[in-house]
Symmetry: D2
Subunit: 310 residues, 4 copies
């Protein structure tokens, strides 16, 4: 239900939210498993809204590049779905995991088929399949994001990718474990290199809000060409809503009421189908890995504007 | 996104779907743990749509009473939320379970707090709290449903309630287990009696589509009075979408794209916020406990009409 | 390997151990879920050794009656095995649980068949079968224990049984859960009453060491009659060694090296096949439910005497 | 309890058992994950008994080399215990796993500390520590086994080691997973190479019965020097009894009543402390990975001779 009039601009709402966030006492803790994340100030905050025609509104650090981490999982999922359609679901499920994002338990009970594309195991499968189809999964991702955001300087951060690799034993374990079930097609070192590079992408709220608009436009890219069918765009939004925020998907749906995807760099992207996209960034995380100020800002946005899928 | 024009009637769509369902080869298996369910013909099919003003369209067995089973969990949740608001969430979570609907595993790991109000453990907690607040949970439910559906003859089915009690060891185990953690306030026999009576309600697609419209009207009852705040109505829809169809919530969101709740009697209710509600019934179930023809019919409805929250 | 000479008496060893235990700093915490256990002084200590001919040595509070709790599970197991032999293993397993003693997880994965007779679920099954075979499981147990210990005043403690029942929700949950799988033959209230009475038995180290000697005598009772075949006596000892001390069975085997069974009242019984039995009591427990001073005393006993099955 | 007289020879018992085994109808299925195991005839059978003085009795294929697989885990455990004593238990537990031998579940719940040294994860930790202490874990193992068996030609089988490596994704997953918790000290490729070589050792029943006698001699090697203290030898036997036969340890203790360790090559070693050791080989496995004829033969041996620790 969208109760805003079409002539309304999002700018005053964003500024109102930024002022509220400024007064929030706690902001959570930054992820500290790699130096690039640990060095961030948890009080940084930026937010952007992109309309279907490419108009972008922003507030705070909305042009500041940050580490996207798991946010890129949305785009690799879309790039694979566009290429292989429903065949993808033979290799990865689309059910909420109900467990912390690194859990190996369900993977074992379900014979190496990860629960959904947004837990790490599932994202490894998606990357593996994109790699098989294109020969350069990370390159495909980068080309797509540069094109949709209109920012040709978007790039991976080699230091972050190296840090991820140096702390990559859990992901290596997941990849080997799924390989034991025959669910990985590429050599593990190739897969991990591709995966860690994707996680290392640096982009701003403005870049990401724009890059996500194809999901609000029911599958159409910025240039009007079609990446996904209308049905596939709905499906990606559905998977974001049920699985996009680790084991807090129910809480996010309850509070925010929009398809969303979070990353441990503190970013969250969200989609208002047929209307706009949002990207918020603040590095302080709650105990489930979602940005504290980011979720609060989206919660306020849907409350203030009445925008929600429910 | 609603692409139907406001002057459109749902009747032709329902008839088109009924004809398609008629040609579906497999229809799943009826639940057989109690005689009243086992006796049903898996090929029965009915579907109703109720608009916000109370207009109802229907097809097939849409006026045939059937066993609602877990569908009533939506209404008891709403009745409790209306009375105690967010305090409820101290006693029950709102995250997808990611596991079969009777699972005790998560209950143990999470100290007797059930994952969400729609798994059996969570529904027992909701009933327990409604019982504490009203002294007659089942009576409150019945009064509400008669009022909203406009059908004063709606009632519980004593034979079904007795059958449920006779096969009630799992629910008794859940109740005792949560009582061990201090999460149940009423005596177990009282709670189970209340719970099994609610599960025994018999109603038709027409009754249930009408009774659900308060969720499409953002909390307003049929008589214009308010049961839930707009925010609470959104929240119930969010919990339905992420948790309403057992461990197939992700698949249901992916295929149907609407908040929905299923029951092992073969019924499913669904909400198009701001637009209408649906109820479909066909007793044949898939291996996850959802009506085979029911999910297929809802899938076709959203595809044919373009109605979806995504 | 028994390196003691046959003329040796155990008395000096027991006194040496009691003096060492007296100097132990920490003694763990008493179980506090029922008043009768919570009221005990964790520093109480008694120990008895019974030889095959009925000679008993003791030290400290070895004649003080205490709450036997799970120690009685050994005797009910033997009484059932004597009556139905290997058929028992269709209803309960004999593998270590590898999990805390109230866990429902494995029970669910293994379709209501408990892992072994010494976890609570398994003991409920054993009691259920003894009840079916005798019509009075607790009475059979009491008769047996009075006869073997030579103490006609042994009895259940009604206050403790009532306390157990008042805190019995977990055991009620286990019983209902197994009933749902068809693995319980008696009405749940009857079963629970029988079970809680058995747990309430009060006896001393001297009583229990004597009552256990049939397991050191390869199945022969005190009067020379046979309760178990030699093979069955071996089997009970094997189950004690692998499953007798909750999820610390490996540690107990490692440190003590004898078949043993512990209870949350602070008692432990142990068997040296062909040689003697032991019973030790001290109410302070470690975090896994075993008596701290009790395990330490048995550890010292096997070290000082060289007695061990390994 | 040993009821055999000391002048008795084991030869007639072994021949009696071999004749019985010859008549056994089913023999299970050979492991088929690597060609060298899959090629074995499941009906091959050999058995050897070694007395403390080095006298060896044998029957059937008792001099036929076979793939020892997990049997070597006993020796690497002893070699590490000899070097670091109880410090080892900070890195690996000594409790039965209660789960299939490759399970990752418990490893995750217990922060990367494997349950015991005989599940694959625990054996990787043991190998890792032996590698750290010696710089050549596999070499140490080979030197020890050649010395104790008196067979200087004992060696690893490079084809088998290569096959293991080619099918090594699960073990690689385990190693990376534990490394993520800081519980692995060597580079993963070094560790896996050492581990797969140990698994590839080829030896006969005669070799292995002799090599195991230090555990029946309370820690003394064949040349009279001491590898383990008496207490440590007891401890290895205790860990074998509670954890040596995958998730069938309870059943093995119940039926055989001796400390034992099995391998998927079809071998089992067992210890009668103070008396003798046994090694049996037959490649057909039951569904839990233990040799069908091997367990049956040991069961018959303890029944016929009265030898048992219980």
């Amino acid at each position: 239900m969208v109760i805003m009039t079409s002539s309304m601009t999002f700018q005053p709402v964003l500024e109102h939210i930024a002022a509220e966030v400024e007064r929030m006492p706690g902001r959570g803790r930054v992820a500290d498993y790699i130096p690039a994340l640990a060095a961030r100030d948890p009080r940084r905050f930026g937010m952007a809204v992109a309309e279907l025609d490419g108009t972008v509104y922003g507030v705070g650090d909305w042009r500041e590049p940050f580490s996207t981490q798991s946010l890129t999982k949305v785009f690799t999922l879309a790039l694979v779905l566009a290429r292989e359609g429903d065949e993808l679901w033979e290799y990865v499920g689309r059910e909420p995991s109900g467990n912390p994002f690194n859990s190996l338990v369900q993977l074992e009970y379900e014979n190496g088929i990860p629960r959904n594309p947004f837990i790490n195991a599932g994202a490894l499968v998606v990357t593996d399949r994109l790699q098989t189809r294109t020969g350069d999964a990370a390159g495909e991702l980068l080309t797509f994001l540069r094109s949709e955001s209109g920012n040709a300087r978007l790039d991976f951060d080699k230091d972050i990718a190296d840090s991820e690799a140096a702390h990559g034993d859990r992901n290596a374990a997941l990849a080997h474990f799924m390989a034991a079930y025959g669910n990985i097609g590429n050599p593990i070192p190739v897969l991990l290199d591709q995966y860690f590079r994707q996680c290392s992408l640096t982009a701003s709220c403005a870049d990401l809000a724009l890059a996500t608009t194809f999901l609000a436009r029911h599958g159409l890219r910025a240039d009007g060409s079609r990446l996904l069918t209308q049905s596939q765009a709905k499906q990606v939004n559905a998977v974001m809503l049920t699985c996009g925020t680790y084991d807090a998907a129910g809480d996010f749906a309850y509070r925010v009421g929009l398809p969303g995807k979070s990353g441990v760099g503190g970013g969250i992207i969200a989609v208002v189908p047929g209307r706009c996209t949002l990207c918020v960034w603040s590095p302080g995380l709650d105990e489930r890995g979602n940005s504290v100020a980011g979720v609060a800002a989206l919660d306020r946005f849907t409350t203030l504007t009445g925008v929600s899928v429910f």
